[in-house]
């Protein structure tokens, strides 16, 4: 009887991991739609290809080496992971199935990689991107992930990142930033004298759908990161996480709307979408400690930050078609830095330390990988391919191939 109950708890927690994982997996569709909506139609097939294949590569690489690097048999507090075989074996007396944990973790890796595809859209070679994704998902992410979630030295240093504002989102943005610098801007984005020429995406309904998919998936992302549900404390925690996650997204959207209205007199839809995502990224560092009201506040600030951040990157001539650097990088950092306001276990210093380590490592490691790819096979499509669109060159078929003149 006691055993039955223990097994029942095991079953419920496993189920909770799996359902959370399904929601995070669904975020792959969210990124795909968001990015497909925010690029021009001549590059849409290619961005769709990147998105579905990166998810496939992330899942495969994390199975082959990534999970092992990040979680299996590592020493506590270390810098370097051990290497063993695949995903290890289920521990005696575990609270949930090992595979359900793996499943939940594997979809996170894909999220980190999805962040990159948006920032480098419309100009990066398909295969350069795919090769990079092998490295990020198989090695770079698992390595830095180990430092905190695998029990490595950042965990020991008191760095606190509940569901990955830093470890997933800012890390993805760091990898993206390296690429954005190395790649240069899309042709025509920046004019003389700092002029910014917007390049409107082709499909606002897809961008909105993508954002709402991400919003939905985020309940799995943050909610699942409690890592247990089966007693009252954990269940209540998960409930609060859902409420806070939703509140931050909502106020992020509203804040972006208001800033947009005040600044330009109009409701800039893609800024509102970015505002919602900014709120989500920011609350991800700690969706459990704040009250819902405080969470709403964090979301609102993130919704403001994201707009000014996007404008700043434009001024710096760092071209990011979907705003990934601002949403995931800047608001990820912001999320990390406000953790100590609500969570006594975290200090501003340790948060800064952790953020610096993660950003530094991922940026440098990514820079090296991108650079090698650049030197060997090149990272950027030719000017002519950029003009005609990457769909024809890389994929062979346009996104909307009917005769209708493009």
């Amino acid at each position: 009887m006691e055993n039955t109950v223990t097994e029942l708890r095991f079953a419920l927690d496993t189920f909770y991991f799996l359902i959370s994982g399904v929601l995070v997996m669904w975020m792959a569709a969210g990124f795909a739609m968001l990015e497909a909506g925010l690029v021009r139609s001549k590059n849409t097939t290619e961005i769709l290809t990147k998105n579905i294949v990166l998810y496939a590569i992330a899942c495969t690489m994390f199975l082959l080496v990534g999970y092992n690097i990040m979680y299996v048999d590592n020493s506590a507090g270390g810098w370097l992971p051990s290497f063993g075989s695949l995903i290890g074996i289920q521990a005696e007396g575990a609270d949930h199935s090992l595979e359900s944990d793996f499943f939940f973790q594997v979809v996170f890796v894909a999220t980190a990689m999805s962040i990159v595809s948006g920032a480098v859209a419309e100009r990066m070679k398909l295969w350069a991107f795919l090769i990079f994704s092998v490295f990020l998902t198989g090695f770079i992410y698992p390595m830095e992930g180990y430092w905190t979630w695998g029990g490595g030295f950042l965990a020991e240093a008191g760095f606190s990142d509940f569901a990955g504002s830093g470890i997933v989102h800012m890390a993805g943005a760091a990898a993206a930033l390296a690429a954005v610098i190395l790649l240069g801007a899309r042709k025509g984005k920046f004019g003389k004298n700092g002029a910014v020429h917007p390049i409107p995406g082709s499909n606002m309904p897809l961008a909105t759908l993508g954002t709402l998919i991400l919003w939905m998936g985020w309940f799995g992302f943050n909610g699942g990161s409690q890592l247990a549900l089966s007693n009252a404390e954990n269940a209540s925690a998960v409930g609060l996480i859902f409420v806070n996650t939703n509140a931050a997204a909502a106020t992020g959207a509203i804040a972006a709307l208001i800033v947009s209205k005040l600044k330009w007199g109009k409701a800039d839809l893609t800024m509102i979408l970015n505002g919602a995502l900014a709120g989500l990224v920011a609350i991800t560092a700690d969706p459990l400690s704040p009250t819902p009201l405080f969470a709403a506040g964090i979301g609102a600030v993130a919704g403001i930050i994201v707009i000014y951040s996007i404008l700043t990157f434009d001024k710096l001539k760092l071209d990011d078609p979907v705003g990934a650097l601002s949403v995931h990088g800047v608001c990820g950092l912001f999320g990390l830095l406000v953790v100590p306001l609500n969570n006594e276990g975290a200090s501003f210093a340790s948060q800064l330390y952790g953020a610096a380590v993660i950003f530094g490592f991922v940026f440098v490691a990514s820079w090296i990988v991108w650079s090698v790819i650049k030197v060997t096979m090149g990272v950027r499509v030719s000017a002519e391919e950029e003009e005609t669109g990457m769909d024809l060159h890389d994929c062979g078929v346009e996104a909307y191939p009917e005769f209708t003149a493009r």
Partner: protein, 112 residues
């Protein structure tokens, strides 16, 4: 015969089509175009950057007609397409030397 080309505001299409039919003209070919002219465009906003869109949506009608129908049709179209605001469009008249109806091989005025 003449080829009459009219550039009009899109929302006037239905009225103009009726005017043409009432003028007894049996055929029209229509296409969507963008027009640039005295009517000024609008400012759009995308991700915080404003930009000027100068090309405005217009509809182009091409109508092959007998010479003697020109004046009547110009008047009919002008009346129907007129809003009195800049951007109402233009009518162009060009020579048309020959017309062939593909189905029957009929020629010129017979083919209209």
């Amino acid at each position: 015969m003449k080829m009459l080309t009219a550039i009009i505001k899109p929302f006037k299409l239905d009225e103009v089509r009726e005017a043409i039919m009432n003028a007894g003209i049996a055929g029209v070919t229509v296409s969507e175009v963008k027009g640039f002219g005295r009517q000024k465009g609008h400012t759009e906003l995308y991700r915080g950057a404003e930009y000027q869109v100068d090309f405005l949506p217009k509809v182009k009608l091409e109508i092959a007609i007998k010479k003697e129908d020109v004046d009547r049709l110009v008047e009919a179209i002008s009346a129907a397409a007129n809003t009195g605001k800049v951007g109402d469009g233009k009518i162009f008249i060009q020579p048309l030397e020959q017309v062939v109806r593909i189905r029957t091989g009929e020629l010129d005025e017979e083919a209209l």
